[in-house]
């Protein structure tokens, strides 16, 4: 704002001073509210900055046997965090290769603990395991990722993601340089995993993918990825082993792996509205605590990891818009009543089909079973025949038999 140097006769410096104050005041009144509303707009628009509308999680534990209790506990603790932060069961595919909670060696049945002194039961009351036991195979895992499931697969076993889904994939078990062992009998290699992700990208089955792996030499599994929008974390580098955390003397096995233990500790502090971002996740479990060196890979990811919220992958914060327009509808009167009248006539009384035909079972005649001679009878018969033969013809024929 420029004041003219030419002064009119009769004006003084004070007049210009007043003019200046008034102009500043007007500026404040006119422009500041719009700056404030811009801020509100900016906050509202931040909702749409991440580009995803729904969240999915695929959590896989690949080892069986009682001494691999810690892998099941790992997966269940991530499951618990993910559910707590809002992802519903219908959007989680949980694959557990063995049942630890109901294992006959479990001194506390129906529980899986993640902390010694049995502080935290991660099995809980409403666990929904989608693939259990021997169903957890490399083939099923790849089928879930690529979507090539037989048509009879129910909805809860499918990954029904679209191009606006953020998917969290967590793998744990025994691994090596370039492979992950499934069920002690087969393995998945890092090239297969990278190809599966590429097929997911081709069909636009994800918006962004977060891949976390807690195995020995875990960093080798994400070396071969080449599809965009993938961020990967691993618990150890190539050549290092991931170590387990602490054994529980009552249960008798190691309860958790170090990396996932500290990851769970970190996630317990996160709540659905928190602003923690990925850079904090990278700092979880430094080598001083974990002994192995956790690694991460962000070169395929388009956004800056500092701007990616934890809840973008672990939680399910929905984007919401206020409905501003409605449609004015007139209530139909006659047509409706006429129609409901007709419907009343046509409804027939519905009954249950007989679930268990008790009367039939009680009065049933016993089924005719084929008659078999009693056990041991045949064996005895042959012994008798042999004895008689050798008695008659002498023992020298024995060499022809054996």
């Amino acid at each position: 704002m420029q004041t003219s140097p030419i002064t009119k006769p009769g004006t003084t410096k004070m007049d210009y001073y007043y003019l200046f104050t008034i102009c500043t005041f007007i500026y404040l009144v006119v422009f500041m509210p719009s700056a404030y509303s811009n801020d509100v707009e900016a906050k509202a628009s931040q909702f749409f900055s991440s580009g995803h509308t729904n969240n999915w999680a695929v959590l896989v534990c690949t080892s069986r046997f009682w001494f691999n209790y810690r892998h099941v506990a790992n997966t269940l603790s991530v499951y618990r965090s993910v559910k707590r932060l809002g992802i519903p069961d219908s959007h989680i595919v949980l694959m557990l290769a063995d049942d630890m909670a109901c294992n006959y060696r479990n001194p506390k049945p129906a529980t899986v603990f993640s902390h010694k002194n049995m502080e935290l039961n991660v099995y809980g009351d409403d666990v929904e395991v989608d693939y259990r036991g021997y169903e957890v195979t490399v083939e099923n895992f790849l089928r879930v990722l690529t979507g090539r499931l037989p048509p009879s697969t129910p909805r809860s076993k499918r990954l029904l993601s679209d191009d606006r889904s953020n998917i969290l994939i967590y793998l744990t078990g025994h691994g090596g340089n370039g492979f992950l062992k499934f069920q002690d009998s087969e393995e998945i290699s890092n090239t297969e995993l990278a190809d599966a992700f590429e097929q997911m990208w081709q069909k636009r089955r994800y918006n962004e993918l977060l891949f976390i792996i807690d195995t020995c030499q875990g960093a080798s599994m994400y070396e071969r990825f080449y599809s965009p929008n993938i961020m990967a974390l691993a618990s150890s580098q190539v050549g290092e082993d991931s170590l387990s955390h602490q054994p529980d003397l009552a249960i008798g096995v190691h309860l958790m792996d170090k990396y996932t233990f500290y990851l769970l500790e970190f996630l317990e502090e996160v709540h659905p509205a928190s602003q923690a971002n990925m850079n904090d996740l990278f700092k979880v479990c430094p080598p001083s605590k974990c002994v192995s060196t956790p690694g991460h890979r962000t070169d395929l990811f388009q956004r800056d990891p500092g701007s990616v919220l934890i809840t973008d992958f672990f939680g399910s914060v929905r984007k919401v818009e206020i409905t501003k327009e409605t449609i004015n509808l007139m209530s139909p009167t006659e047509a409706l009543i006429k129609r409901s009248g007709n419907a009343a006539l046509q409804v027939e009384s519905l009954t249950y089909v007989d679930q268990l035909p008790v009367a039939q079972i009680i009065h049933q005649k016993p089924k005719q079973k084929d008659w078999h001679p009693p056990d041991g009878f045949i064996l005895g018969l042959w012994t008798l025949i042999l004895l008689v033969f050798f008695k008659t013809y002498g023992i020298k024929h024995l060499k022809h038999i054996f």
């Binding site: 690529t146 909805r155 190809d195 409901s340």
Partner: protein
Amino acid sequence: MAPLQLEKQRGRFAALAIAAVVIVVGIPLWWKTTQTYRAWLPYSEISELDTLRLQLSVDVEVVFSRGTLSPEQQKKVPLSHVSEKEHEVDAKTGLRYRFETKYRTATIMEEDALNQPTAAEADLSLHMLTESACGSVVVYVIPESSSLLPKDVNVYVGQRRTALLRSTPVRDSWSLKEVLANLDPQVEQVVNTMSFSHRDIIAALSDRVRLTKVTKESMADSMRAIKSSPGYEITFSLLNPDPKSHNLHWDIEGAVYSYIQPLLNKLAPIANFSVDSQILYYAVLGVNPRFDNSMSAYALRADSLSHVINPVEARLGSNAASSNPVLNFLLYVPDANHSPLFIRDHSKREVPSNAFHSPRWGGIMVYNVNDMYGPNAQLPVDINIDMAKVMGVFLAQLRLLLGIQHTHPPPGFMLQSPGNAGLTDWELDRLLWSRSVENIATASTTITSLAQLLDQIGNIVINDNIAQQVSSAVTSLQLAVAELEAGNLAFALQYSREAILASERAFFDPSLLHLLYFPDDQKFAIYIPLFLPMCVPIVLSLLKIVNEARRKRADKQAKND
């Protein structure tokens, strides 16, 4: 010596015969039996599909009513005019828009129809006269002084595919060409509103073309509408957290039949819809609303709305038999202790509809019933929910979620409300345009990536049914592109739907799983123990024969010398 010689001869013949059998019979047999069955795929046609050149043709008819043209100008009408616009989206995708405009004068019956007192009635009577084809636009130019449209409105867009355009002042001395040149920008505006705009088509191509620079609004638009799918499941849920106080009755069957079904019937060419409903008792929102003294009511802030959906979603069921996307519409009646409950938007103002929606998921409406009974009423109170009001909100949300975008018409436009059908014909046309383009783009990317995958991995078995699906997808795609070029929108959509169904079925066939990753050293490890023990004697005996033949020739040479 002779028998030994004979024996040696026999041995040589035997070795040669075995080598011959191995090479002539064995190797081809092994090759044939270890080959994977791969049915023939039309790779050349698929690679042609990789570059997509779409032409979208729109038929526009401009009808001049009496008083808009001078007699001299009228003599030159009827005439037709074609305008084309090309856009190169990226290296592999090109678009061409072709507008074929026909100009003519109005018939007597059309003039009668235009003489109606209001624009809505004029629109209705015009519709009775002719039925315009799917995808076409008819613009009636009415005189500037006409009283059919209000003063500040220049264009009235009707419920079908017709629009009334107020003509700009025309001077009698102008030639027809000048009149048309004057009229063209306005006609173009109308056509862009009623059929498609370049932005919509680009948004529909988002599967093929990942744009890095998108405006916030267009990204919000593209995220909100659910992706094209062969079927959708719509679920209406009534949440009653307080059955002790409120005994709710809602006639959902009747409401769906009268309000939602007409819209779904109109959208039948796009997808199959299945509707179901449920009532959930003791279902609470995950957020505690706060009491607001200024309104003496409970209020839900806009930031807390996003945390409302998750706890409820865990309790909503869905049809386990289908993998179709689900749209959930929830009607929440607050409990007596937290009534009335209002939703506030970001600027702390009350929302008249008291509802919000989440992109690609569904909508939630809060229905307050506290004013339907007094404080001394006997609990539980019987309450009949006003379905017209509820369905008005749900219908608006359903339209948004299915992809019927807000149209932001230019100033001076007046759009007729859709009425009980829920959808005007030109809105349907807009949806058909974007869906056809989206289906064609998705199907072509699916087929090309499938062909690439099958080409790269030689181990995958390609069954006959997959080859058949791929061929039918390719044929349908070619037909869809041809129909789009010709301007037959309905057929184009039908073919594009068939193409996308066939391509998805082929891509997601369970037999196409490439599990066996054989690195070369593993292949050697399998074949060596099988073939080496057999090949070593053969090779050694052949070498022995060759050495002997050479020695014999050397001896003969020495003897000759």
